[in-house]
Point group: C2
Chain length 200, copies 2
């Protein structure tokens, strides 16, 4: 039997459902929130609600933004002829930290995965094709993770874009195979960008 009051148990379970948070950490976090002032706890709850309410997908690149078009897509200083395609908004943040890439992004919000029953129509591939079809794109850099699903997705998109005559490249394997792009250090990401190769 758990001796925690019900509302606390519920809060622990919410934290335990987050990625990378085990049962003990979840309990620690829930207790910490209880120890906050009413104002601070409320402001934590508000931050969640505010983020969900004000943030949506950029109409162009599908990254999270609170505007209609995100700052990267609307910046006059970024090269719109190069689009870096990533699986996840986290990956945009990771590549931006490397300060090496000055083009645009496209966020797929997932990768093709037959195991998880995620098909091409379940992620933002159509939106990418529309961008390429509208012209003005010279190069697509496929920056999905170098694992099975990431490779499959990169190959699928590469074939899909062939008819448009656009150059499709793949991040160089500076990133250790099997690792997660999100956790690559800046130097590795930089080398991977510099050594990118065309997909044939």
């Amino acid at each position: 039997m758990s001796n925690l009051p019900n509302a606390l148990e519920v809060l622990v379970e919410k934290f335990a459902a987050l990625p990378g948070i085990g049962q003990k950490s979840a309990q620690r976090l829930a207790f910490h929130l209880l120890s906050l002032s009413d104002e601070d706890a409320a402001s934590f709850a508000d931050a969640i609600v505010d983020a969900k309410r004000s943030i949506h997908f950029c109409a162009v690149c599908q990254n999270y933004t609170d505007a209609e078009i995100c700052p990267i897509c609307s910046s006059p200083r970024r090269d719109e002829r190069v689009i870096c395609v990533v699986a996840d908004p986290k990956d945009v943040a990771a590549i931006e930290r490397a300060h090496e890439f000055n083009g645009h992004y496209h966020v797929l919000h997932g990768v093709i995965s037959p195991m998880k029953r995620i098909g091409p129509d379940d992620i933002k591939i159509k939106e990418l094709v529309d961008r390429v079809a509208s012209g003005n794109v010279d190069e697509i850099i496929m920056a999905t993770n170098p694992d099975t699903e990431g490779e499959t997705t990169a190959k699928y998109i590469s074939r899909l874009l062939k008819p448009f005559g656009v150059k499709v490249t793949r991040l160089a394997s500076g990133i250790p195979v099997g690792a997660d792009l999100e956790f690559a250090d800046d130097a590795t990401l930089m080398r991977a960008l510099e050594g990118r190769s065309e997909m044939l």
Copy 2:
């Protein structure tokens, strides 16, 4: 410059302020919350608000509860003549997991720490003295962490309770010195309870 929308940045900072959560984990958690459905995100926020609203200190032992008196203090099967004094609600949960202790608790909500300017009046010591003064208590088990502040607090309380003629014991040092009681395994906690010694 951060490319995250403001509301997302705020949410990341909230997570990063939690104990044991670094900047990258905070970002990962915030992105995860954004990927939840509106209902799931709202229910996370509600869990925080509900926990803060419905949970307060037990009128007797000062542990978190949603009742006036917590289930342990109101249980007829627990021995009210033995009180285990802990620094933190987390420590009650840890000792309960060992299934070895059948008495009552007293939660101090902190330890005496001159460094952090926390004095005896800043934690729930007066409430403990009142419980002992009201009689019916045979033994006080001091179960604060075996570090400097925990030892100081245990000694301070032990001296304070001397006039009442109550037996004051200390958890046996089965717990590695310098470690945190919360993370002790059940066997270690069990041995520490069995080998407790009287404070002289």
